[in-house]
Every structure is written in C-alpha cells, then in structure tokens.
Subunit: 291 residues, 2 copies
C-alpha cells in the first residue's frame, strides 16, 4: 500500500506537467508539454496520451489539477478562464479514456492541499495559497481542511473598474490582471522590449516587479481580513521565481490593508514544493480517488 | 426548555440594541441606547447596565454581537475598528459582571447566523452576509456551517490605494469606506448639504446611491469568486433601507465581476430579520453558551 504510485497531471494555461508520484510526494518520471488550446476534444486527447506515455506499472489512479471551478459531486469542470474547458464531465470522461480511477481538483486547491500536506504548510492549521502562473489560482485551508468552494482568489477585485481579465472572465481589476505571469509578460514587453518576458523582468531585478508586489500585497491584505490564515504561500512559476523581488512591497501593503494583528503575525513563504506543488496536489487527488 | 429566553445585545458603532429573545427568534422587550465611546470601561459598564434594565425572569444567558474579531476559544475581543474595544477578555468580563453564561460573536457573523438559521437563508446551505451599518460587517455560512474565521468582509479592498478607513483600520479602498452608513452620510453631506444623512439620500432616491451600489456589487462579485454562495444577504440599517436603490447597479457589477455561472445564479436579498438580524444572532450566541 505504501509503495502505491499514481499519476498527477497539472494542467496549466501554458503547459501540462504530468508525473508519477508516491504517497510521500516523491516525484519520479515526469513529462511536460505545451497546453493544447485548439479545442476541448483535442485537449482531452492530449491529456490522455500524455498520461499513457508515462510508465503504467503499479499505477492505481490518475489525478488532474485543472484551472477551472470543479463540482466534486459530479466531477464536472464548470468552466475555465484560460483554457478551452467548459461544463464537461471531466472526471468521468478521463476515467473512460484511461480505465483508471480519476480524481479532479481545482489547480489552486490542489497546490494549496499539497503545500498543506507535504510542503510549507505542514505545521499550520490554516493557509491561503496564491499560484502566480499563466493566470492566478488560489486555495484555502481552514481549520486543517481544504476549503472546497470556488476559492478563485485570482479573481477578487483589487482595482475597481481596472485592467480587464483575459479569456472567459469579464471582470476588471482582478488580481490575475496584475499579478499573473501573463500580466508580468505584458509589463516586460513595455519595459524591456517586444520579445521580453516575465523571466527577463525577474533576471534584471527590474523595479516594475515592485509594483506587482504592491498589487499582490493588497490582495493578500484582503484575504487576511477574510480568512486570517497563519501562512500565505506563493506558488506558480512566476510567483516562485519572483518571490524575493515581490515581497518587500507586498509585505508593506499587507501591513497597511490587514486588520491588526493579522498582518503583523502573518508568515508569507514561497511554495516549498516549488513549481511542483500543482503536480503533487493533483497526485493527492488521485490518492483520494483510490480511497 | 422551549420557552427558555435569553438576552441578546447587538453592539454597533452608533447604537446598542438589547432585547429578550426566545429560541424561535421572537423578540420581546427591547432597549436601545447610543454607543458609549469614551472608554472601554465605560462601554462595558453601559452594556451591563442595559442588560440589567431588561426583565431578568427566566433569562438563562446573555449573548453579545460585537464589531470586533473574536477568538472563540478564549472569548477575547481582539480589536474593533469603530468602538473602544481592544484585546480584552470580553466574554469572561461580562460573565463576571452579569453572573450569567455569556456568548460572544462577531457582529457580522451573528447576523449571518441569524439569517441562516431563522431568516432569508433558512433554505440554503451557503450564504454571504454583508451588514451595512456604521461600518460594514460580514459573515459566511459554508456547507451549512457558520465560518468562524475573521470574515471581516467590510475590509476587503475594492479600490487599491483608495479612500481611507476610519478608526483602527489603516487600510485604503475597503468596502467599508464606500458602502457603510457612515460613508453614505459623507456622500449625503456633499450632495444635499451639511446636515444631511444617509437616510435623506435614500428618501430623496438620490442617484449617488447608485454609485454606492456599484461599489457594493464589485465587493459581492469578489466574494462570489471566493465562496460561490447561493445567496447574499444585505443587512444593517443603511443596507436594509437602501436595498432597492442599491440593487440595480450592484447586480450589474456582480454580473461583470463574478465568474460564470456564479453571478447569474446568485440570489441577493435584504435581511429578512431586518435591522434585528444582529440582535437575534447575538441571542443565538447566548443559546449556544447555554448549551
């Protein structure tokens, strides 16, 4: 039982990361591929073939972290902002294609659960996670339990009537429009030229990252006033890479916006599972499907 | 047991409402008085004397709804934004003065619990409540249970670096700075003259209330993306009085900001217990103290 392995799949807006994972969160063979965004059918085919390219021996279940709201009762993915998934029985559909038990979790919830179970949040009872990737995902653990509501923390408003979201979100001024890797790409192009990316911004330790940190801190301040977590974990590719540059401005904004003593007592850490938090969280969903 | 009565006390930023309440939420004799804000000691004395002026016969416990973060384990009120309460053992202190079991609840949580148990939310499993009074309070019911975190929903940011909060909150652009009765008073003075209040604004059906409704809808949109409740309940003196004027603009903003299908499916209702939701919620905390 303890050497049982599963396959976790972290479906992001830009890339898919799939890997073989054990109960302790050890990651064995992995595969990574750009996300197919041409159609829902093509994306599901790609996910199934990626899983099947990994070694199948001893695999008990497959878990998917998806950037969509998930109805756990039905396994339906209700609609994603950045990829072509909308109102499909994702869990049932993938179980049919793979002939294995399938678990499904919102990607932000999956990452939060992984950090809570095996990462930066192992010693706390409550945490909020924000994943700054293509979009911004989020997850919340309250009193030691993963909150299974929407927790689309990337879509709380920080700037009323501000920058529009992309994709299937009609909102304006959401965290995602300021703090995602894609938003940082946009800043990079403006500051460093048409071919620059968020990574160049980070490599150059560009001061524009501070402004993103301020936006992030405002969002964290709001979330402290709602959840009062002991810990906020910042994950996602951009979030982990830019963490040290984001924090000074973010911490200042948290102290301004959070009601005392929430801001002072709050720990903010980078995801200790790094960019693999989502993958490991998807694997945890697979183990849950195994029972 | 079923004719057991308690005293509930709704401690607001402007006034204190105390009353005798039974398990079904029926309110008998009530007393109302302006909130003493000179000192913490004077306020506690006033609360005790108000309780003792109500008929004591058959009273089993007293419950307080307070506009402060509450630590339920210790009964400590951790700090209020609009009244002089900070880090005191509120529950123990009042139990000593009253020689009765005492329950304590954050005021927004109390109102949310009342609406969930006996009011507009009787038939739902999840709701978010916003009370627009002197300040803005909030409460959340998830999967049929009152969320006992901070849920200081009046202090989520809607306008980054916007209007400052008053009192003990250093934040800027919080819901409270735009949607509270006190914020509406300020608008009233600007629009209708130095002696006008929020009530005059509502009586005149002034178009400035629409702008407040827009702010409120932006906040509700954020909260839908976090909690995806079936129902949002608007309470508090200003919220109930202005409800019909606030809603058109608020609903439009919710549709823009909330991820589909949350906004379309959301019901928004005025507190069906009206301005007594907080009082009845405080009484529920008293019944909980009774066991």
């Amino acid at each position: 039982m303890s050497d049982q392995r599963v396959i976790g799949v972290d479906l992001g807006g830009t890339k898919i990361l799939a890997g073989v994972v054990d109960r302790a969160g050890n990651v064995y063979e992995t595969l990574e591929r750009p996300t197919v965004t041409t159609s829902q059918g093509a994306l599901l085919d790609e996910l199934a073939s990626l899983v099947q390219e990994l070694p199948q021996q001893g695999i008990g279940a497959v878990g998917f972290g998806v950037p969509a709201r998930v109805d756990q009762k039905t396994g339906i993915a209700l609609g994603a902002v950045n990829i072509p998934i909308r109102d499909i029985e994702f869990r049932g559909e993938m179980a049919k294609r793979l002939s294995l038990p399938v678990g499904i979790e919102n990607d932000g919830n999956a990452a939060a659960n992984a950090e809570f179970t095996l990462g930066a949040g192992r010693d706390v009872q409550g945490l909020v996670m924000l994943t700054l990737g293509t979009g911004v995902g989020g997850g919340v653990v309250i009193d030691g339990r993963l909150f299974r509501g929407w927790a689309e923390l990337g879509h709380i408003v920080i700037v009323e009537d501000g920058e529009p979201c992309q994709g299937a979100c009609s909102g304006r001024g959401h965290v995602e429009a300021y703090c995602s890797g894609r938003a940082a790409d946009k800043v990079a192009r403006r500051e460093l030229g048409p071919n620059a990316t968020a990574h160049d911004l980070v490599d150059a330790r560009h001061p524009a990252v501070e402004a993103i940190g301020h936006h992030l801190g405002v969002a964290i301040g709001s979330l402290v006033n709602v959840f009062n977590p002991e810990l906020v974990v910042i994950g996602g590719g951009f979030g982990v890479a830019a963490f040290d540059l984001l924090m000074p401005a973010a911490r200042l904004a948290v102290l301004t916006e959070a009601l005392a003593p929430g801001g002072q007592e709050l720990a903010i850490e980078a995801a200790s599972l790094g960019a693999r938090a989502g993958l490991i969280g998807a694997a945890l969903a697979a183990f849950e499907a195994l029972g």
